[in-house]
């Protein structure tokens, strides 16, 4: 573990990014898409086809802001999980120093996402109440592989979307830059989370694996289902019931999510975390 942490510290010293100075926060923001339209929860539905291009663009900006807000929410949880985990580790170890580096990254990312969403859309988003309360509990009690695998799931789901958006010329330049900053630093965090998950699970018995697998799957469900909620559709002036209904049945979106999360599922599978119970949850969420 220390070797991995040492490498990650070395990597961070080769390239860390500072949104404060890298982004011109006073530059005017254009009217580009907030995400690749194909990633919209309504893309491919009849409702999407009825919208004008301006409406579609506006919808993606709100969806993107809502996803970023989910990112902030999870980064808060993550910072506390990591902080609790290293609380009594020796400060001189690479693992400890890497953990604090990661917390510092996440802290900067949250500020960056907050500022970017503020510049993109008017209303502020928040994850649903039950998700917030479950998150409150999770960050207080989760430990070991459940904590790190949940971190991984959240990071990876966000990461796959952002990799697409950052390369997409249709997406607003501010969003593209913010996403690349996140992708670079997140790649290190995911390596760390995988390594920790592997290590904590080594030697775990079947019972513990079964419980952890389910906890992680439920956390994944919470995160994914909190990304875009009814408030988004309301703020864009859509028929909320219809939008929610069509989004829920959107097979295009599900297949996009499944494809993007294939590596993640391979990883969980390789650790025996795709138990039948957990798989059922992932299928409902649309990740498997």
């Amino acid at each position: 573990m220390n070797e991995t942490a040492q490498r990650l510290l070395g990597s961070a010293s080769r390239l860390s990014r500072d949104p404060e100075t890298e982004i011109d926060w006073d530059a005017p923001v254009g009217d580009g898409y907030g995400m690749s339209p194909e990633w919209s929860t309504l893309y491919g539905t009849p409702y999407w086809d009825e919208l004008t291009e301006a409406q579609q663009r506006e919808l993606t900006r709100h969806e993107s802001a809502s996803v970023a807000t989910t990112g902030i929410w999870f980064e808060l949880i993550l910072q506390q999980l990591v902080l609790r985990d290293v609380y009594d580790k020796p400060a001189r170890s690479a693992e400890f120093q890497w953990a604090l580096t990661e917390i510092a990254d996440e802290c900067r990312h949250s500020i960056m996402f907050a500022r970017a969403t503020e510049r993109m859309v008017e209303p502020a988003y928040r994850p649903r109440w039950p998700a917030r309360e479950l998150g409150r509990m999770f960050k207080t009690v989760a430990t070991g592989e459940s904590a790190y695998a949940a971190i991984l799931v959240a990071e990876e789901v966000l990461d796959v979307m952002q990799r697409d958006w950052m390369r997409d010329r249709r997406v607003e330049p501010l969003v593209r830059t913010v996403n690349h900053i996140h992708v670079v630093e997140e790649s290190r965090h995911m390596v760390f989370a995988r390594e920790e998950t592997r290590e904590r699970l080594a030697g775990a018995g079947r019972g513990r694996r079964w419980v952890s697998a389910l906890v992680i799957a439920i956390a994944a469900d919470m995160i994914v289902s909190s990304m875009v909620g009814p408030a988004v559709y309301a703020n864009v002036g859509l028929d909320v019931d219809r939008a929610v209904r069509e989004a829920r049945r959107n097979e295009h979106h599900r297949s996009l999510l499944r494809t993007s999360c294939a590596n993640l599922m391979d990883f969980l599978g390789s650790l025996g975390l795709l138990t039948p119970a957990a798989s059922r949850v992932y299928r409902r969420t649309g990740l498997l």
């Binding site: 990597s11 009849p46 390369r167 290190r188």
Partner: protein, 415 residues
């Protein structure tokens, strides 16, 4: 420092998608991708994040300080002539591409659980909501990865574990030990991924007494029913062929007892090889070294492993094989106890489908079998017996795209 990719790379491009600095090339769509050779990391832009190593299914990507010097040099050399790509300029990245949901079929049969069949199954699970029935004649998944890839390349064989997870998906019905012909005709589409296992023949006098690569690799990998080779008589063996498989044969033939003990091979195979009198191997190429089909990394590995016990001979055409040895078209004879042929593989006709005997494939357009709606091909039976494991991933993806888009036009799922 930086990371480096070794010759074990099967170029399935999983790493390209996770690199945050666009340091890994050739990426899908770039010239040179899909030729079967490895991918490379540009040390000038790599930031050592380790994401590529984490995702690589065969452990080919590693930190430079854990890689062989030649691998580090090979990676750097690949980029020597080009300017480094500026990852901060996001327009220097390729644009994302999206495959649109096409509805797709309900029940699909995939024949063959080699890489092509496994990647096709995975793609069907990801892109459609179809139920997939997967069959293989053999009892295990993996195809030539299990029964072809040399046993001294254990990391390449690791991909089998990924395949084993795919068959456990609950939309997959896995029927090992089943021939496709035994199944009722109740599928919306069939993907034939049966490979091309049969060795090509030289067509020379005395060839029946030679061993084909097909038989020999099946034997040393312990495929059930594979024939035991005749006595391995020393001191010299000739391997005809200039591809990576020919190099595999030379390496295995010349492995000493200690090396054999480090390999996952059946005990009987180890005993026969250890007792063999083969002390040197002549590798025969029809053309010159520039045209040889092997990859540079495979050649380096061979030379590093067996040193001067292998002789590379080019521009040589065999004319007959007798107990005295192999006679060439220039009249000379190489005295040898065994002859192995590794001059390529070819597919065999599939019942009810057209066949192109010259290329040894089922004629197809982007995977759709010509003139047989509902039938598709993937892997070696589709594009010929060339390219490594990873090439079959892109190939199977193309086939599934064709299958999905021809089985239904883009539908609006929310309707």
């Amino acid at each position: 420092m930086s990371y480096a990719i070794s010759g074990e790379c099967c170029s399935d491009a999983s790493c390209v998608a996770v690199c945050p600095m666009n340091s890994i090339h050739p990426s899908p769509g770039e010239p040179g991708f899909g030729t079967g050779a490895s991918l490379f990391i540009d040390p000038r832009t790599c930031i050592d994040c380790g994401a590529c190593a984490d995702i690589c299914p065969v452990d080919a990507a590693q930190p430079a300080d854990r890689s062989a010097v030649e691998d580090v040099q090979r990676n750097a050399a690949y980029f020597a002539e080009q300017e480094p790509l500026d990852a901060m300029d996001l327009d220097s990245w390729g644009e994302p591409s999206y495959e649109l949901w096409g509805g797709g079929p309900r029940r699909v049969l995939v024949v063959g659980a080699g890489p092509a069949g496994m990647y096709a199954t995975r793609e069907l699970l990801l892109r459609t909501s179809a139920e997939v029935t997967l069959v293989d004649r053999l009892e295990h998944v993996g195809g030539l990865v299990r029964y072809g890839v040399a046993p001294d390349h254990p990391s390449t064989k690791q991909i089998i574990r990924t395949f084993e997870r795919i068959v456990r998906h609950d939309r997959v019905r896995w029927l090992p030990g089943t021939d496709a012909g035994e199944l009722p005709d109740e599928f919306d589409a069939v993907v034939h991924a049966v490979g091309a296992r049969r060795s090509r023949r030289l067509g020379i006098v005395g060839e029946e007494a030679a061993r084909t690569a097909e038989e020999f690799v099946a034997w040393y990998n312990g495929r059930p029913g594979a024939p035991v080779p005749a006595d391995l008589a020393g001191p010299r063996a000739v391997v005809v062929g200039n591809g990576n498989v020919a190099l595999d044969l030379a390496r295995i033939l010349l492995s000493d007892e200690q090396r054999l003990r480090s390999m996952q091979v059946p005990a009987a195979v180890r005993d026969v090889l250890a007792a063999s009198g083969v002390k040197e191997v002549v590798l025969l190429g029809r053309r010159g070294p520039e045209e040889a089909a092997y990859t540079q990394s495979a050649l380096q590995e061979l030379l590093a492993t067996v040193g001067d016990r292998v002789e590379l001979r080019y521009h040589a055409r065999p004319t007959s094989w007798t107990p005295e040895g192999l006679t060439l078209d220039d009249g000379t004879t190489i005295a040898a106890g065994n002859l192995f042929t590794a001059i390529g593989f070819e597919g065999q006709p599939i019942d009810g489908l057209p066949f192109d005997p010259d290329r040894g494939i089922v004629p197809n357009v982007r995977g759709a079998v010509v003139g047989r709606p509902g039938h598709y091909v993937a892997g070696w039976i589709k594009h010929g017996a060339r390219g490594g494991i990873g090439v079959n991933k892109a190939c199977a993806q193309e086939t599934v795209m064709t299958l999905v888009s021809s089985s239904r036009a883009l539908v609006s799922p929310g309707s």
